[in-house]
């Protein structure tokens, strides 16, 4: 996975009725915690994984977020929700 993006048709959405972030996909709803939202917002098909890690690390005062980011992207990709923009 070099430059991750959301699969075609996936859309981040804030469900105001339930106060919950979700990823809306064809016929599906994936509930997201705030840190997952922060990662997925950066999966734009332009940034590579290192850039996403760098951006978030900066946002969280230099915290080491590499394993969390890679773990989330890998789990979402196994479900077909995140794909590689270069493939």
């Amino acid at each position: 996975m070099t430059r991750p993006r959301l699969v075609t048709g996936a859309r981040l959405h804030y469900d105001a009725v339930r106060s919950q972030h979700v990823l809306l996909v064809p016929e599906g709803i994936v509930r997201l915690n705030p840190s997952a939202v922060a990662v997925l917002e950066l999966c734009d098909g332009e940034r590579d994984l290192d850039a996403i890690v760098g951006t978030l690390s900066e946002r969280y005062d230099g915290a080491d977020v590499s394993d969390d980011v890679r773990g989330l992207v890998s789990a979402m990709s196994a479900k077909g929700l995140v794909v590689d923009a270069d493939v």
Binding site: D15, L24, P26, E27, G28, S77, K79, G80
Partner: protein
């Protein structure tokens, strides 16, 4: 009746915009009475726009625009815009025959999120025979067009005795078309499929062969094509969680504005059905007879009441419409369940299968052909 505070909020609105359709599929899930006057009195644009807003405020996130054939509604782009404005994720469930470039682009601009196109078989002649309409070439063109315009594409194929043996071809076709999802919906016996049950019912060997093919394909292709295999419940011995539980996650609004907990609920006698022309969606969800009758578990009888497998919250007693049809009591355990006293009826239906001629869907009266 559960109190309002214990009632979950719906996630999905199934909007059956019209029962008109150029196809005549013998397993159509629409009611047998689609020709009756009441259903021809379709909601107008403004009604649907209001319903979408009410649905979003109630908690609905997913909207399915279906029918019949939703493309027959000339106001479809306006409806997609209204759905987008309400914040709904909108899917178009179409046969594809009217999905041409001009209309598809218009829907894309209007904010439609996802296109689902049905095929009846991977074989053109079989497709056209099952659909009762020459449609295969148009469907394939529509699927390619949807992908070209950047829509995520789902291919849907209802499976039965007459197409299960083509499962490998159906899987390959979906992959070649660039589909992201493939719904392999083993026929569920509601609507027109009841009339055609003996013709449609597959053999156990057909199902086992097809399921093995699906599993091999999943192994080979991975997550790029998500395959939904809808269980053939007549070959199961525990019931399906029909609709994810009665009035638990979804609402169906039919062409004239009646609101139901599932597409087949109008077959349950004595169920008082309310209409969006007279009541708000919120009232109907929380208070109406149709939605509260079988919500939760308090209505359950034996063997569900003391389920030996503790599956009350897993299968919700199965399907109310199937219980009604096979036992005459909508509150009975779904006879698919091996603990049901009527389970033998499911075995009898399997044995009665013959694969004979279809009775095609029609808007004309069919009363003479019903038992």
């Amino acid at each position: 009746m559960p109190t309002s505070s214990s009632v979950t909020r719906p996630l999905t609105l199934i909007a059956e915009l019209s029962y008109r359709c150029p196809l005549r599929c013998p397993y159509c899930s629409n009611p047998l009475e689609i020709g009756k006057l009441a259903y021809r009195d379709e909601l107008v644009t403004g009604d649907w726009v209001r319903v979408f807003g009410e649905a979003a405020r109630l908690g609905v996130l997913q909207l399915a625009l279906t029918g019949g054939e939703p493309m027959l509604r000339r106001d479809l782009p306006q409806l997609c815009e209204a759905a987008r404005d309400a914040g709904l994720y909108t899917s178009l469930i179409t046969a594809g025959t009217l999905f041409d470039a001009a209309r598809a682009r218009e829907l894309r601009r209007a904010g439609l999120d996802h296109v689902q196109i049905s095929i009846q078989s991977s074989d053109p002649d079989d497709n056209d025979r099952i659909a009762g309409n020459r449609s295969f070439v148009k469907k394939i063109a529509a699927a390619r067009l949807a992908r070209r315009l950047g829509f995520p594409l789902t291919i849907n194929c209802v499976l039965h005795r007459h197409n299960l043996d083509r499962i490998d071809e159906i899987l390959e076709l979906a992959l070649e078309l660039g589909a992201q999802r493939l719904e392999l919906a083993n026929t569920q016996y509601y609507g027109w499929a009841v009339l055609n049950q003996a013709a449609l019912m597959p053999t156990r060997e057909q199902l086992e062969h097809a399921e093995a093919a699906v599993n091999r394909f999943r192994q080979r292709v991975g997550p790029q094509l998500d395959i939904l295999w809808v269980l053939p419940d007549y070959y199961e011995d525990l019931p399906k969680p029909c609709m994810g539980g009665w009035a638990r996650t979804a609402l169906v609004v039919v062409p004239n504005g009646d609101v139901l907990p599932c597409q087949a609920a109008s077959t349950i006698p004595g169920l008082a059905i309310d209409n969006v022309r007279e009541r708000s969606l919120e009232w109907i969800w929380n208070e109406s007879d149709a939605f509260t009758r079988f919500r939760g578990t308090d209505w359950m009888q034996e063997p569900c009441r003391t389920c030996p497998l503790g599956r009350q919250q897993e299968d919700f007693g199965g399907c109310r419409c199937q219980a009604m049809r096979l036992t005459g009591d909508a509150a009975a355990t779904d006879p698919v369940c091996r603990f049901s006293a009527d389970h033998h009826q499911v075995a009898q239906a399997r044995d009665a299968a013959h694969g004979g001629e279809f009775i095609y869907r029609t808007l004309r009266p069919i009363a003479g052909r019903l038992r």
